[in-house]
């Protein structure tokens, strides 16, 4: 617990607040009784007063926390293939800042603030993995044929999906189409993720074949959707 506080928190210098905050966080780490008012005051100055020095101080104090959380994240190895450690740390703080600024988030304890900061790191990782997974899904080049010029298609995903659903006769076809086109799941993954929905992989392969056949038969309609025209 703090002793002999001579000034109100809002009158203390940032350096003093930092000193006390580091001391109290050390007590927190040792699971001792601590006073997180100093750290919360730094947060207040950074978020409410837009004090850039206070924001830098927070990043310096808790940057190591974020780095260690990244080190223990279940997707750490995959995440670090795409972006550097510092990128994730910076992104976590950026998301935290955006959340407290835009959504008027406030924290009454440091624990809740750190919990949210860790969540921001998690979101940074998951969004990165998702974007790279999406970037890796590209049409396979034609086998043995020269590359066609890339044409930027304007489309509406929802319209495209509704059109595809409309040409599929049964619920199971639509379900497999969703799991394949929206989730990029292989048949064995579908069996695992959706237990009990399908008898076996063979059934899924049969359904996928039906789906592709119907899509190819209705290529003109789908191409019209890809051109961005909406049917009345």
């Amino acid at each position: 617990m703090s002793t002999g506080i001579e000034k109100p928190l809002d009158e203390m210098s940032l350096a003093t607040l930092m000193e006390y905050s580091v001391r109290e966080m050390a007590r927190y780490r040792r699971k001792e009784i601590c006073d997180d008012r100093y750290c919360l005051e730094i947060f207040r100055r950074a978020v409410v007063l837009h004090d850039n020095y206070a924001w830098i101080a927070l990043q310096r104090q808790f940057g190591e926390n974020v780095r260690l959380w990244l080190g223990g994240h279940s997707h750490r190895e995959l995440a670090l293939r795409y972006e550097s450690e510092q990128t994730y740390i910076d992104d976590a703080f950026r998301r935290f800042w955006q959340a407290v600024s835009d959504q008027s988030l406030s924290f009454t304890t440091i624990a809740s603030a750190l919990s949210y900061l860790r969540l921001c790191l998690h979101c940074a990782i998951m969004d990165t993995l998702r974007s790279f997974a999406r970037a890796n899904i590209e049409p396979i080049p034609e086998h043995g044929h020269p590359d066609e010029p890339q044409v930027e298609d304007h489309y509406y995903e929802d319209e495209l999906w509704e059109t595809i659903k409309g040409i599929l006769p049964g619920e199971k076809e639509r379900r497999v189409a969703y799991l394949h086109f929206h989730c990029n799941l292989k048949p064995r993954e579908i069996i695992r993720y959706c237990p009990g929905e399908f008898r076996n992989e063979e059934e899924i392969y049969r359904l996928k074949r039906n789906i592709i056949e119907r899509v190819q038969r209705n290529a003109n309609i789908i191409r019209w959707k890809l051109d961005g025209n909406v049917l009345a």
């Binding site: 780490r29 919990s115 929206h182």
Partner: protein, 271 residues
């Protein structure tokens, strides 16, 4: 769909499995494709159709990670939360992400340690010694090269509701790799929730068990037990893969959410 009439032409089924799901074509099909422009066009049509739609639709309806996280901590409006709930009913990827996020929140440590050594982990986190299940005989195809000793591999273990099968094999370069498969003996549990679970392989340089059954015996005198020799993660299908393992005696630790499973005395070598 039009079939190629030439001999050994791949069926539509084969081409679709290859184009949509990346399944490896048979050698005969590959050789045929190299010669047949008709089948090349068939494959190209499947692949381009699939790729175009997949690239447009992949996770296009999924909420972003921030929305899913806010859903987990109750920060969404009622309408937003209802939308996410509806989406989770049919999207297994988002369902998995929500489960991961909730696990992350449940295991929050504001000041984590940089490196959790085996000793400190064992002293603070519950762990269980996986019990070996009597080996079930299986046929091993002998191709004249080395193969795992029949009396050792595959190995089967059980810890609580988790069943673990370990298999040993050699890759094309002759390196030993260890393949593990986790499964739940409780049908209600989803192994995919263990995706990303850390698994470590430690070298045990002496024949004495690192963990005595029933109690932890720290091996502080062994300077070579500094940390994990190899680290990997459980994939979405519950598989564990360790590549290029030198022959020797090992110990494996699987860091499940609520406990650590220790597999002792893994004798990795080929006869």
């Amino acid at each position: 769909m039009t079939q190629c009439l030439r001999p050994l032409a791949p069926t539509d089924e084969e081409l679709l499995r290859h184009a949509l799901d990346g399944e490896i074509l048979s050698i005969a099909a590959k050789e045929h494709l190299e010669q047949c422009t008709f089948c090349q066009q068939r494959l190209s049509d499947y692949a381009s159709t699939n790729g175009l739609i997949l690239s447009r639709l992949y996770r296009s309806q999924c909420p972003d990670a921030t929305t899913l996280s806010h859903y987990c901590i109750g920060m969404l409006s009622m309408n937003e939360a209802m939308d996410v709930t509806s989406h989770l009913k049919f999207c297994p990827l988002c369902t998995n992400e929500v489960a991961e996020t909730r696990l992350l929140l449940a295991t929050f440590e504001p000041f984590p340690e940089e490196h959790l050594s085996v000793s400190s982990t064992a002293l603070t986190v519950p762990h269980s010694i996986a019990s070996p299940i009597p080996w079930q005989p299986r046929l091993i195809a002998s191709n004249g090269s080395d193969y795992a000793r029949e009396e050792m591999w595959p190995c089967h273990y059980q810890a609580d509701t988790i069943s673990i099968s370990l298999h040993l094999a050699r890759d094309q370069q002759g390196d030993i790799f260890l393949l593990g498969l986790l499964s739940s003996i409780n049908g209600a549990e989803h192994i995919e929730l263990l995706m990303g679970t850390k698994v470590e392989l430690y070298v045990a340089h002496n024949s004495v068990s690192f963990f005595a059954r029933g109690e932890y015996v720290p091996d502080f005198t062994n300077p070579k037990v500094q940390g994990p020799f190899l680290t990997t993660q459980v994939d979405e299908l519950g598989r564990i893969v360790f590549k290029s393992i030198p022959p020797g005696l090992y110990l494996m630790i699987i860091y499940l959410p609520e406990t650590e499973v220790v597999i002792e005395e893994l004798n990795i070598h080929f006869s």
